[in-house]
């Protein structure tokens, strides 16, 4: 590589991440959060390497078995089985991939749109601000669940947009997933935009912004290069919280039957599938519920920890 000048920056970046984690050590709450989140992230990444059963394979005989039931193949159903005899542990662990992927994807999209809306409204002001804030307020005026249901019912696989996507070769999972991403974007981006707008209103009075204006930079350059990077501190904290909310929302949609199509193991859906069996399904319901809460709790605690270390100096 001829790019010698750029190479010193690399170890700098790694050192920076290492330093941030080092700082987080001082916040016990943040470390608990980081541990919980890392647990699920590592599970999602390495699910294939773990000795798990096939999450879709149905064992006809062992339905709704409790945890630690011996299985016919000589092992155990560590967390029991669901109403179709599928291994709950395997479904949970493989399900973490779906949950993390779709909630992460949805949050990133919502954030990208929200940041652009917020920075434009905050920096340009005037009519830009009026229009963007008005659109955002319209979406914020709906109860979130109602908004999700309206969007998902209008844009599902049966809608024209869904059929077009299907015609383009997207599988049902992708069509469903993308509509969820879209719904999350409509519900979340206005909230992100509000935060970013507030931060930008303060940042744009700084002299370095005036310096950029004075040398004739375009508004786009100023927004992306001068303003947004300096809003990142509070936004990273907010993004952690927001990812937790989106995880809950996607689980709730799965529970309502509006989530990803069967038979993929989505945590919300895992609960709703067995809820008809009442107390007999308590074991099958408690595990996915625990999975959702540990992950969301982890994200919230991580956000608290990040906020704590950012306030201290």
């Amino acid at each position: 590589m001829t790019d010698l000048a750029a190479s010193p920056a690399r170890p700098g970046r790694f050192a920076k991440i290492a330093r941030s984690v080092g700082l987080l050590r001082e916040s016990p709450i943040g470390m608990v959060g980081l541990t919980l989140v890392l647990f699920w992230v590592l599970i999602a990444i390495f699910a294939d390497l773990l000795p798990l059963r096939d999450p879709l394979a149905q064992a006809g005989a062992d339905l709704l078995t409790p945890a630690l039931t011996p299985s016919p193949d000589g092992g155990h159903y560590w967390l029991g089985t669901d109403d179709k005899g599928r291994d709950i542990l395997a479904r949970l662990f493989y399900g973490s991939r779906l949950v993390l992927f779709w909630s992460g994807f949805a949050t990133v999209v919502a954030y990208a749109v929200g940041m652009l809306m917020g920075v434009a409204a905050g920096y340009r002001g005037g009519w830009w601000d009026e229009i963007i804030s008005f659109i955002g307020n319209v979406f914020l005026a709906f109860p979130q669940m109602v908004l999700y249901i309206v969007i998902l019912s209008q844009l599902g696989p049966d809608s024209s947009a869904g059929q077009w996507l299907a015609g383009e070769g997207f599988s049902t999972v992708w069509v469903k997933g993308l509509t969820i991403v879209l719904a999350v974007m409509f519900a979340t981006a206005p909230q992100v935009a509000r935060i970013v707008r507030g931060l930008v209103l303060d940042l744009k009075t700084r002299d370095y912004v005036a310096a950029a204006e004075v040398r004739g930079e375009t508004p786009i350059y100023i927004m992306i290069v001068e303003l947004l990077p300096n809003a990142r501190g509070p936004l990273i904290v907010d993004a952690c919280l927001r990812l937790g909310y989106v995880t809950i929302a996607i689980a709730a949609l799965g529970f309502l039957g509006l989530g990803l199509p069967p038979p993929d193991p989505d945590w919300g859906k895992m609960i709703s599938e067995v809820r008809g069996y009442g107390t007999a399904a308590a074991n099958a319901m408690i595990w996915p519920a625990l999975a959702i809460s540990t992950m969301v709790l982890g994200l919230n605690l991580l956000a608290d920890g990040l906020r704590e270390i950012s306030l201290r100096d």
Partner: protein, 691 residues
């Protein structure tokens, strides 16, 4: 012998941070006698505010007194209980902070904030407390105390707020008043009034005072004794006269040599910056803390830790220097590098009758009905002046005078409402920066005020300079950008490695140098410097003004220097434009403006500037009233509401003509020429200046 009001003995104070214990102040000794005013002076980070907080026993969670004692009226405050301390704070010891708006509760009326002091500390009832509050508001010379009592803080001006805070501090007749930069946030003419008041209080109430400031001139005006601090220690202590006239510590002398006193001149008598930087608390040398920056450093003498010692033959004068007796203090008074004055060239910038009005839209129903929906703020009215190549023109005025608005029009961030702004003969007053050709943009650049905001904290120094070079087409390829960036860093005398640093790794002065490098990156022919040194410590100020002069000489740049600080202006500028409420009151060469005949406003401004020189005799002109709002300027002459030389009705009705008293020296005033010529100088030097 009288008991001192306050006695600090071998005091040391530390902060506890993530990185461990940081000693902020150590081996600090200070005695304040009854009725005495003691000044503590030093640059940022020297520990002067920490001392004040320790005296209040108000260190916060991460600070603590780690050694020594603080005796208040003979009793050690460290042994007092929280309850006792609470009783003393506010009644026996009171404090006035820098930001008046931050010391007053914005949601409470002044009345409620004032009367609670005697109610809590002395158990007075509300009526008696209010009577006392009115007396004190009167004592701090606030007009109409009843109206003030019923106001909320935001309804008062900055000067009025600070007076109210001082009244609050005096309510329980404290023995000791701590003032931490009480006038730094105020305009000069308002500051002059508050300083008068502080001096008066000391006399009338017999209150002892500790006055903390970075401004030596203010200490001279207010204090009997002075303590100079450097890097957590006191380095020199004595009466104001002893320290100002016969300073015996090299740091004190360095400070005096780096402030622009009358008699300094950027060519013949340039300021002498103190080299190096204030060491961080953990990098402090074990011996003399000033050693690495001192010209008189000798390893064997200055290596071991230094202690305060009495100056021989000068009672009450202490200094922390091993070699004070060996230094020839009369030699090397000015060791700055002298240079030839610059010869101004052709006219580069011409401002002709420039106007800038802002429209204020009032969308209320009442305004719509009465048809007064739009009002105008006349930020600039008939601005008229020119600047030549290699010349520095200063625009001087207090907040709201329109000096920053003019800069915005010049830079293309605002459009002029009328008149012309010609740069090399081309009118750019109505040309926004978007429509300006690249060559014009790069020839007109700006240096900003606040070093902490001038650089984007997210990007490296090199990339920020590089962006300018690329944007202005000075350099295109990567190698070229790197080479030119290095050259610019050389020009502002910073190491080339700084290109890889982030702004937070730089000190204030270094950031300001990068700001200067950025402004000159595209070969600017006109550079607007908006208070470029006002946020810097004095020793750094001297270095930055020197740098600006050097670069200007090399590049023959026209500088428009915007400032409220007349001392810096006198030092740096060739010509001066004095503005008040959007209008030019006086303009001329620096010599013309700083000598009579004056415009009455210039006269008041000059008398308000504190000067740290005991040989200077100043006329004291304290302006009455407050700065009017530019939204609602007075009719006639804008200065008539505060003018001490107002001659009558004509000032209230007619705008004065501009009189040309000497070639280039123009004054807008109704005073007859003969009377203007009879004015006496505001500043008289008892001793001959070092010209």
């Amino acid at each position: 012998m009288v008991t001192p009001v306050l006695e600090c003995k071998n005091l040391s104070i530390s902060y506890y941070t993530r990185a461990g214990e940081v000693p902020a102040v150590y081996d600090f000794n200070l005695t304040v006698n009854p009725g005495e005013a003691v000044g503590i002076v030093g640059e940022s980070g020297c520990g002067k505010s920490t001392v004040a907080l320790a005296i209040m026993q108000y260190m916060g969670k991460n600070g603590a007194v780690t050694g020594g004692e603080i005796k208040f009226l003979g009793r050690d405050m460290r042994a007092m209980s929280d309850e006792e301390l609470r009783r003393i704070r506010g009644s026996q010891i009171a404090m006035v902070y820098q930001e008046p708006m931050a010391s007053l509760n914005p949601s409470m009326r002044i009345r409620d904030q004032l009367i609670e002091v005697p109610m809590i500390h002395e158990g007075l009832d509300a009526a008696a407390a209010e009577k006392r509050a009115i007396e004190l508001l009167d004592a701090v010379r606030l007009p109409d105390p009843l109206r003030i009592l019923n106001s909320y803080p935001h309804q008062l001006s900055g000067g009025q707020q600070q007076r109210a805070v001082i009244a609050m501090a005096l309510l329980s007749n404290p023995k000791l008043l701590l003032l931490d930069e009480p006038t730094t946030a105020l305009d000069v003419t308002v500051e002059a009034g508050v300083v008068e008041l502080i001096k008066d209080i000391a006399k009338r109430f017999g209150t002892s005072m500790i006055y903390i400031s970075h401004n030596l001139g203010l200490i001279l005006e207010t204090c009997d004794r002075i303590c100079v601090m450097y890097s957590g220690q006191s380095v020199e202590l004595g009466s104001v006269k002893q320290v100002f006239d016969q300073m015996r510590h090299p740091y004190t002398r360095g400070l005096f040599q780096s402030i622009p006193l009358p008699g300094t001149d950027r060519f013949a008598h340039p300021l002498v910056p103190i080299r190096g930087q204030l060491p961080l608390p953990r990098d402090r040398p074990t011996g003399c803390t000033f050693g690495p920056r001192c010209d008189f450093f000798q390893k064997d003498r200055c290596g071991p830790p230094q202690h305060m010692q009495e100056v021989r033959g000068d009672a009450g004068h202490q200094v922390r220097c091993a070699r004070y007796g060996e230094i020839d203090w009369s030699a090397q008074v000015h060791q700055g590098v002298q240079s030839e004055p610059m010869q101004p060239g052709k006219v580069v910038l011409q401002v002709k009758d420039m106007k800038k009005y802002y429209e204020i839209h009032n969308n209320s129903l009442a305004a719509l009905i009465s048809g007064r929906g739009v009002r105008y703020v006349k930020a600039n009215e008939k601005l008229d002046f020119e600047a030549r190549e290699a010349e520095t023109v200063a625009i001087v005025g207090e907040s709201g005078c329109g000096k920053s608005t003019f800069a915005k029009v010049l830079m293309g961030l605002e459009k002029a409402t009328g008149g012309e702004v010609l740069v090399n003969g081309v009118d750019i007053g109505k040309l926004p920066v978007k429509k300006r050709p690249q060559g014009l943009i790069s020839s007109l650049q700006m240096v900003f005020q606040n070093p902490f905001e001038t650089l984007n904290p997210s990007h490296s120094v090199g990339s920020q300079i590089g962006r300018v070079l690329k944007k202005f087409g000075v350099a295109k390829t990567r190698e070229e950008i790197e080479r030119k960036t290095a050259e610019l860093l050389d020009m502002v005398k910073l190491p080339r490695e700084f290109a890889d640093r982030k702004p937070r790794q730089l000190s204030g002065g270094q950031k300001q140098r990068i700001g200067i490098a950025r402004a000159f990156g595209g070969n600017a022919s006109v550079v607007v410097a908006d208070e470029p040194v006002s946020a810097l410590d004095v020793s750094v100020q001297a270095a930055v003004t020197g740098l600006l002069t050097d670069i200007q000489r090399k590049k023959r740049t026209t500088m428009v220097f915007i400032s409220h600080d007349l001392s810096v202006v006198r030092y740096l500028a060739d010509r001066v434009v004095v503005m008040y409420l959007g209008r030019v009151m006086e303009q001329g060469t620096t010599d013309q403006v700083f000598a009579p005949p004056y415009h009455p406003y210039t006269e008041a401004l000059l008398s308000a500037v504190p000067i740290a020189d005991t040989s200077i005799v100043k006329k004291h002109i304290v302006l009455k009233g407050e700065l009017p709002s530019p939204m609602n300027p007075p009719p006639g002459c804008p200065f008539q509401t505060r003018c001490p030389r107002k001659i009558g009705a004509i000032c209230e009705t007619d705008l004065p003509e501009v009189k040309e008293l000497a070639p280039g020296h123009r004054i807008m005033c109704h005073l007859p020429e003969a009377e203007l010529h009879q004015m006496e100088p505001v500043i008289a030097v008892a001793r001959k200046p070092v010209h």
